[in-house]
């Protein structure tokens, strides 16, 4: 209910399109703010936050993954470090299946979410379609629904819908996730499309570019950072959220990593879970860095003005 009310005001606010246009053909330049003597305190604060929110949990996970059994840090514990958890993962058949499933599910989910949110936002922001406001609200609605409730809802739908035999498979998760992430995706896309000034496309038209060429050479490249951003966001969330897959999966051949972690934790394989967690975090970190590097290479290459 609260979400519905805020959604309403949000759509009211962004209905005046022009005021929010930011990427125009001129003066589009990142700005640096000089913090002066606040530089060092600000830096320390950020370091502290990074430490508490990211580094500390990661190091705990890393530490546990080398243990035979859970224990507090001590010289003896460090001396007894072992790689057997990692060896165990390599042999445990369900890990490979879960890894493959996760990869497939996450890539399909992220790509579909980016594609669908782009289409929805394009209609919502740019078209004169009478139902565009309703469409926007619908896309935002899943935001108001807790993941577990959403999971139950999809569980019932897939159980009853016969023509779509996805019940219990990773595709059920993919559909569920896509619907859920559409709210985030369309928010980002709405904002990004609003930021691309119409002049930039009109300039392409009068330069002789047909609409689809304009889309390809002007609009899409300007949207690229958003596509990449939403894609990574969805990948990161789809990998780690367990609620929805827990409701929707059926049988060990449809497990994804988040469920596997859940099940193994449940069965007491704590150090092994830590090992999976460590590997997962490292690979997601690498993915994020890689995609960011590709997506933002152009912006980074730009030298500052003399």
């Amino acid at each position: 209910m609260i979400a519905l009310v805020t959604t309403f005001f949000y759509t009211r606010l962004i209905s005046r399109v022009e005021r929010f246009t930011i990427i125009t053909g001129k003066g589009y330049r990142p700005k640096q703010i000089d913090l002066g003597r606040w530089r060092y305190p600000a830096f320390c604060l950020i370091l502290l936050y990074l430490f508490l929110a990211i580094l500390l949990p990661f190091f705990v996970l890393l530490y546990v993954s080398f243990l035979s059994y859970l224990q507090a840090p001590s010289v003896a514990a460090f001396a007894a470090f072992t790689l057997k958890n990692y060896r165990f993962l390599a042999q445990y058949g369900e890990v490979a299946t879960a890894l493959k499933n996760t990869l497939l599910m996450v890539l399909v989910t992220a790509t579909t979410t980016v594609f669908l949110s782009f289409l929805v936002s394009l209609v919502v922001v740019r078209s004169k379609f009478w139902g565009r406001k309703l469409l926007d609200q619908l896309a935002f609605l899943p935001h108001a629904i807790p993941g577990i409730v959403m999971g139950i809802a999809f569980f019932w739908v897939f159980l009853k819908v016969d023509f779509l035999p996805v019940y219990g498979t990773i595709w059920a998760m993919s559909i569920g996730f896509t619907a859920g992430f559409l709210s985030y995706g369309t928010r980002s896309m709405n904002a990004a499309i609003l930021q691309v000034h119409k002049d930039l496309e009109e300039a392409a038209y009068v330069s002789g570019a047909r609409p689809w060429r304009t889309l390809w050479r002007v609009f899409m490249p300007l949207m690229m950072p958003t596509f990449v951003g939403v894609w990574i966001w969805v990948v990161l969330h789809a990998v780690r959220i367990a609620e929805l897959p827990l409701m929707l999966y059926e049988g060990p051949q449809n497990q994804v990593l988040s469920i596997l972690i859940w099940n193994m934790w449940d069965e007491g394989y704590v150090p092994a879970v830590a090992a999976i967690g460590t590997l997962l975090m490292l690979s997601l970190l690498l993915l994020t860095l890689a995609v960011r590097y590709i997506g933002f290479r152009r912006q980074l290459a730009a030298p500052p003005v003399a």
């Binding site: 990427i23 125009t24 053909g25 001129k26 003066g27 589009y28 330049r29 000034h197 002049d199 930039l200 009109e202 300039a203 392409a204 038209y205 009068v206 330069s207 002789g208 570019a209 047909r210 060429r213 050479r217 002007v218 490249p221 300007l222 690229m224 152009r298 290459a301 730009a302 030298p303 500052p304 003005v305």
Partner: protein, 366 residues
């Protein structure tokens, strides 16, 4: 080169239907620098965008070169990407994800005829040299100054060598000094290229200094069209006179009709009679408004012929650097005059003002 006939454009605002362009006719000759001048909301930009194909009017015909690009009767609309035009936007609309070279190369790459790499490079470099941006080809577009972005937009519009150049207030985002320099540079450039130019501005100084022909627009219609000198010296109605430069208006009534040779006649005003240039067909008794520019009013000296003089009291003297603006109360009316900065006038002084008859124009009053 550009022909617009009976153009009408309506659009739907939040509350009502706006008749933005009400029957515009333009005939712009090959190589002409033609300016649409008017206040914001007068329909000048809508007219320009209709020529570009970015707006679709409801009625009228538009020709670019020999091609009919729009016709309401024939239901023909040529899309912007098939019109032989180049355009510079008020915001410049430089693509931020491309460097300078790619921005200029874009129109060439989108042409039907594919150019060889060498041809393409040569044409881009030529266009960049034309606007003095050579050497910056590899610079990412967002890292240009405002003036450079404006010139880049111009190079992009010209690189394809279109038959028509459309400019939508291209100087309004520059600072005052740069704007002044660019005015002359821009005119010189388009004249050198020899391209037919349609220019839209609300700045009368730009219109007067750059154009071959100025069309002053008001409320979706052309109020007057002519050379800058005609527009400035012989405004045909009060709107044009008021919009272009500072002007004094004196109300009066025709006393005697124009003589055959000079078209000058006598007009009676509240403060005395003045000889003025009358419009055709003005009869004694007609209500008129006399229009005279501040710089045309002289302070009468001892040797000035004693005619067309009005006495007044100096009310305020404002030093403007290159001139003195002297406000004189003539009867109940305040007239603005522009005097040489060394003129010895003091507030409170009673002076005689001379109104050269050929500079006083009588417009039909209401």
């Amino acid at each position: 080169m550009i022909k617009v006939q009976n153009l009408h454009m309506y659009y739907q605002s939040e509350h009502s239907r706006v008749h933005a362009v009400r029957g515009i006719d333009l005939d712009i000759k090959q190589g002409q620098f033609f300016t649409l001048l008017g206040p914001s909301g007068c329909g000048k930009t809508t007219t320009l965008r209709s020529v570009a194909g970015l707006e679709t009017p409801q009625q009228g015909e538009i020709f670019v070169g020999d091609v009919r690009v729009f016709s309401s009767t024939a239901r023909k609309v040529v899309p912007p990407y098939e019109r032989d035009i180049g355009m510079v936007f008020q915001s410049y609309a430089i693509w931020p994800h491309m460097n300078v070279f790619e921005n200029v190369a874009f129109p060439l790459r989108e042409m039907k005829r594919k150019l060889s790499q060498r041809e393409l490079r040569a044409k881009v470099e030529q266009a960049l040299a034309l606007v003095h941006l050579d050497g910056l080809a590899d610079r990412p577009a967002p890292f240009l100054s405002g003036g450079q972005q404006q010139r880049l937009a111009l190079a992009r519009a010209l690189v394809k060598e279109p038959s028509v150049l459309l400019l939508d207030e291209p100087l309004s985002n520059l600072d005052a000094k740069l704007r002044e320099e660019t005015r002359f540079e821009l005119r010189e450039l388009v004249k050198r290229v020899g391209i037919t130019t349609l220019y839209v501005t609300h700045d009368q100084l730009e219109a007067l200094t750059m154009s071959d022909v100025v069309a002053v627009m008001n409320q979706g219609q052309i109020a007057q069209q002519g050379s800058p000198v005609e527009i400035y010296q012989s405004p045909q109605d009060r709107f044009v006179a008021n919009f272009i430069g500072l002007t004094n208006f004196i109300e009066g009534r025709v006393k005697s009709s124009a003589s055959k040779e000079t078209s000058e006649g006598e007009v009676e005003t509240a403060s005395g009679n003045l000889r003025c240039v009358l419009s055709d067909g003005m009869k004694p008794g007609d209500a008129v408004i006399i229009v005279i520019r501040p710089e045309d009013i002289q302070v009468a000296g001892d040797f000035t012929p004693r005619r067309n003089l009005l006495k007044g009291k100096v009310d305020a003297v404002i030093f403007m650097g290159n001139s003195l603006e002297c406000q004189v109360l003539v009867g109940a009316q305040r007239l603005r005059t522009k005097l040489h900065p060394s003129s010895a006038v003091q507030p409170g002084q009673i002076i005689s003002l001379e109104f050269p008859p050929d500079r006083c124009r009588a417009l039909r009053g209401l």
